[in-house]
Amino acid sequence: MKSEIRDRGDVRIIILSGKITIGAGDVKIRELIDQALADGKKYILLDLAGVSTIDSSGIGEMVACYTTVTKQGGQLKLLRLSPKINDILQVTQLITVFDVFDDEAEAIASFI
């Protein structure tokens, strides 16, 4: 998994690509979220457009991060799901947990 970070005002945008899977990407997500919180960025947007695969460990880590960020008074939202990732969020019913956006500007505005 690869990642890129951009900040837009108070919002940390984390652009992920590749596989978010056990023993690799799942750990990396945790590190990126911890870093955002350490940097004082509590509004976090995960851009998943380039993510090809997310296994149950990757989904589990995303859920754990959602809980961590929420408990610290922040918000974790998702941007640009590929059709397969959308399918996975649908069948796991996590689509009801996460706020999901297709447009970055709209997503950023939603944090305010």
Binding site: T21, G23, T53, D55, S56, G60, T67, T92
Partner: protein, 171 residues
């Protein structure tokens, strides 16, 4: 029936301890792998399955979901079954033909009761960080059966009925 070992599936990872492939008929292929219990070997097993599926024309959505289910079964075998102890082995068997993909994964752990796995889509479980692996398998395969291996570990057999027009499916 012919058996020919292949080495092309090593994608820079530690190669499988055993890899053999059998052509049951021109339309039915079988492969057997023995892997050390390391997460990176999931990539090796995925490569082997993709090789076989490619030869029988399974691609697109079917291939994506079969690989997804395989990865969950292997992750469970390595982490929950074999407790990530590399000396414990994971045995993998694939049988593929134009109509079905059958995957069997066996670990050397202490076994478990799949009935004890809570429903991850129950509202009270939605925010749990784990417990979705078997659910993934059940969602993306047509048949998932658990059993006890001769070693006392767990076997999981998964079957996927392939779509006739799989080549035209959206990736």
């Amino acid at each position: 029936m012919t058996t020919k070992p292949r080495t092309t599936i090593d994608a820079g990872h530690q190669p499988p301890l055993v890899y053999s492939r059998t052509e049951m008929t021109s339309q039915s292929l079988h492969a057997h792998l023995v892997l050390a219990s390391r997460f990176e070997n999931i990539e090796v097993a995925e490569r082997a399955l993709r090789d076989l599926c490619g030869e029988i024309g399974c691609d697109g959505d079917d291939l994506y979901w079969v690989v997804t289910a395989l990865r969950e079964a292997l992750a469970n075998a390595v982490r929950h079954g074999n407790r990530s102890e590399p000396e414990r082995k994971v045995l993998v068997d694939y049988t593929v033909d134009p109509a079905t993909v059958t995957i069997q994964v066996e670990d050397e752990g202490n076994g478990f009761d799949p009935a004890n796995i809570p429903d991850p889509t129950d509202p009270e479980n939605l925010l749990r960080p784990s417990g979705r692996g078997i659910f993934y398998m059940q969602q993306f395969m047509n048949q998932v059966e658990f059993g006890e291996a001769p070693s006392g570990g767990t076997t999981v057999k998964m079957v996927k009925q392939l779509q006739p027009n799989t080549k035209e499916s959206e990736e």
